[in-house]
């Protein structure tokens, strides 16, 4: 089913004005695999159920309101509320309205597990959903498994697909780091250079980058010249740049947290005008205006994006509709405050996951907690989701074995103070052999 996908790789220029046709092509490619969700493409269509005819579906939202993830958390919350509002306006889930119950986990795995517990046993929610930071997922997932409550994460960690978690955990609408790297690595080695230095944070998220970028390099004949792990407490980076060997063509960088701007500025100070090419992951700059002082050094460099921050990067009707509903303007900032830049390459996962839950509930005939087994089996039977209003980032292939989805990725170049999409991968570019099979695990 993946064989037809090669021709989707649009090259640099034509990418800028994506036609409706190429987008439809993307969904057509996976249409043969029993795809669901097509009825959601029309924004005004009501589902067949009468609105508000029943008890609400209660969805517990584990949010990073405080702690290191607060910036992402704020946008996850806005997106979640926007999606819930929209879903309610088209008749809810199986005719029942969605009710979102939000609890702050402080971006802390300890508190995360408590929050899952509280949502499940005190607020009596149907599902728990929304976690981003991978250590919070790791801390909370065992609890969800023990409580036997479906737990939908929007985290992009490789934890779900690796098989480390349990059968109640799903990551249906955001691709994992391994898939992202696999998808864009050929483009990096082919277009930027073959001698690559990796700079990544010294924890699991960074190790996924280290390991899968190294693996991809080995495959395509590229060489990793240095692997530099930055400790989470670092606030100055100058001393690490001196470790990058001279023969490096590309600096592959991914940073998370408040140190990003310093990182970029100090890299600029270190290298001046003559420097290796740069390839970064947008995680570093989520919530950050690309025109911030100190970021000039990034001009001309490339970034991975899951969903283009600037509206012209992927102007499909679905993504425009989504952008409007979550209140983001054409530059990726809040409509009400242009300084409030969104986490655009991550938060779509919240929107899409709520629609995925809606699909699963409606297709499985889920009524109450007694129906978890059917719901989970139905979900595991999904082959993917079609692009549209419910899935504005693009079509997804879903693997019931790994509980993980796969989707398209973007490469953007920073130019004239904005991100410009120069490459879009196919879904197939990011696929890998599944390493686990959750369907064989007990419920």
């Amino acid at each position: 089913m993946m064989s037809k996908k090669k021709d989707e790789n649009v090259d640099q220029q034509s990418e800028l004005n994506l036609t409706r046709r190429s987008v439809l092509g993307a969904s057509a490619a996976i249409a043969g695999a029993g795809i669901i969700g097509s009825q959601l493409i029309d924004p005004v269509a009501k589902t067949a159920y009468a609105a508000g005819s029943d008890e609400p579906i209660r969805i517990g939202f584990q949010a990073h309101r405080t702690g290191i993830g607060a910036l992402y958390g704020r946008w996850y919350e806005r997106t979640t509320n926007a999606a819930a509002k929209y879903i309610n306006s088209i008749g809810g889930i199986a005719g029942r309205p969605i009710e979102i119950i939000t609890e702050d986990d402080g971006t802390d795995p300890k508190r995360g597990a408590d929050v899952v517990e509280k949502l499940a046993t005190k607020h009596n929610v149907d599902f728990v959903y929304g976690t981003l930071f991978s250590h919070v997922v790791m801390g909370s997932a065992p609890r969800a498994g023990e409580l036997k409550i479906p737990y939908f994460v929007v985290s992009e960690g490789y934890h779900v697909a690796s098989g480390a978690l349990n059968r109640y955990v799903f990551q249906p609408c955001i691709t994992d780091v391994r898939s992202q790297i696999t998808a864009v690595s050929n483009w990096i080695f082919g277009n930027l250079g073959k001698n690559v230095a990796l700079i990544y944070p010294d924890y699991a998220f960074g190790y996924d980058h280290r390991d899968y970028a190294s693996a991809a390099a080995a495959k395509s004949g590229a060489k990793i010249t240095a692997k530099i792990a930055i400790p989470p407490t670092a606030s100055s980076f100058t001393r690490y740049f001196v470790k990058i060997p001279k023969n490096t063509d590309v600096i592959y960088h991914v940073m998370v947290g408040p140190g990003v701007l310093t990182f970029v500025r100090e890299m600029g100070e270190h290298y001046g005008t003559r420097h290796p090419k740069l390839f970064g992951f947008i995680d570093s700059l989520e919530g950050v205006n690309i025109n911030s002082p100190g970021l000039e050094f990034l001009d001309g460099s490339h970034f991975w994006e899951a969903m283009p921050r600037y509206a012209d990067g992927y102007a499909t009707s679905g993504s425009n509709f989504y952008r409007d509903k979550v209140g983001v303007d054409n530059t990726g900032a809040s409509k009400s405050d242009s300084k409030d830049v969104s986490a655009y390459s991550h938060m779509f996962g919240c929107w899409e996951t709520l629609f995925a839950i809606k699909e699963a509930v409606e297709q499985s005939g889920y009524k109450s907690k007694k129906d978890y087994k059917t719901l989970i089996e139905t979900f595991e039977g999904f082959a993917g989701f079609n692009e549209g209003i419910a899935h504005p980032q693009g079509s997804k292939v879903f693997s019931g074995k790994t509980h993980q989805c796969y989707g398209q990725q973007f490469v953007s170049q920073v130019k004239n103070g904005k991100f410009n999409v120069v490459h879009r991968t196919s879904i197939a570019d990011g696929m890998y052999e599944p390493e686990t099979d959750y369907t064989k695990k007990s419920l």
């Binding site: 704020r74 606030s235 100058t238 001393r239 740049f241 500025r265 001046g272």
Partner: protein, 297 residues
């Protein structure tokens, strides 16, 4: 030999340069903590938050004036004053109430830490916000470049340190402070307004931290969680230097700044942090009262 000159020498040079700049900044941040500990014999856990407030006010000043130079000047003038007032307020209404009991003070200042941090999160938001440097240039060395503003920060820190030295040695306030440090009871008997001295020392400590925040924010960014790391580092510096010894604090700042620079150039970063931490512990174990500490344990 050639490869040594080409590869290792630049590393050593950078380590020393970067370490020295770190040391100056560290000395300035730790100085406030050292003064407070020396005179009042209390550990101020919210010291890092005063530093953070300095950085945050600097961002506001930059934002309001929309000009990097005027914003910087404005921040230099007002941030230490505002933070000084906050410090006086917490001294008057919290620390005085617990009678400067060491343990109660630690808990109270942890409380103050939470309060300041959360209020900043509410009023400033969770993101890290950049502040443009008032003067910006790149210094080019044969192997790499370095931020000119960072060098300026080192110079300005040095000036502030000299200023405090003069304040302590040449002014009446400094005299009173030293008297209070040596013996609170006797100082009170001799007519030193010790209560006011406590308030001023606490304000001065907070103000210095805020000043450091203003100076540092252009080479970092302002965010509400930035206070923890400088707090831990200043703890270390103050203890290594010897409690209550200003000279010790400054020397320790250099020792730690430069050794941290060198270790982290030659080892993997996280391993380097571990080694640096253990190094500090070893100093303390060999010399429990710190390098220049009076022996009152």
């Amino acid at each position: 030999m050639d490869t040594w000159i080409e590869e290792t020498l630049p590393m050593v040079f950078l380590a020393v340069l970067d370490g020295t700049v770190t040391a100056f900044v560290l000395a300035l941040i730790a100085l406030g903590l050292s003064l407070v500990f020396g005179v009042m014999r209390i550990v101020n856990v919210s010291h890092g938050e005063f530093f953070m407030l300095g950085a945050v006010f600097s961002w506001f000043a930059y934002h309001w004036t929309a000009d990097s130079v005027w914003g910087f000047v404005l921040a230099l003038l007002i941030a230490p004053v505002i933070v000084g007032f906050i410090a006086v307020f917490s001294e008057r209404f919290i620390l005085r109430k617990v009678e400067y009991n060491p343990e109660s003070t630690i808990v109270a200042t942890i409380g103050i830490l939470y309060i300041i941090q959360q209020l900043t999160l509410m009023g400033f938001g969770p993101e890290a916000r950049p502040v443009e440097a008032p003067i910006y240039f790149r210094v080019s060395f044969p192997w790499f470049g370095y931020s000119g503003y960072k060098l300026l920060v080192a110079v300005m820190s040095g000036l502030c340190l000299c200023g405090i030295w003069l304040l302590l040695k040449r002014t009446k306030l400094g005299l009173y402070m030293r008297a209070t440090q040596q013996d609170y009871e006797i100082a009170t008997t001799f007519g030193v307004p010790t209560k006011k001295i406590y308030a001023s020392v606490f304000a001065l400590g907070g103000g210095l931290a805020a000043l450091a925040g203003v100076l540092v924010v252009p080479i970092r960014q302002a965010d509400h969680l930035m206070g923890l790391e400088p707090l831990l580092l200043s703890f270390i510096v103050v203890i290594i230097g010897g409690l209550g010894s200003i000279r010790g604090t400054i020397i320790a700042a250099f020792l730690i700044g430069i050794s941290d620079g060198i270790i982290s150039v030659f080892y993997e970063p996280t391993l380097a942090k571990m080694l640096a931490t253990l190094f500090v512990v070893m100093i303390l174990i060999i010399k429990p009262s710190g390098l220049f500490g009076e022996n009152y344990q």
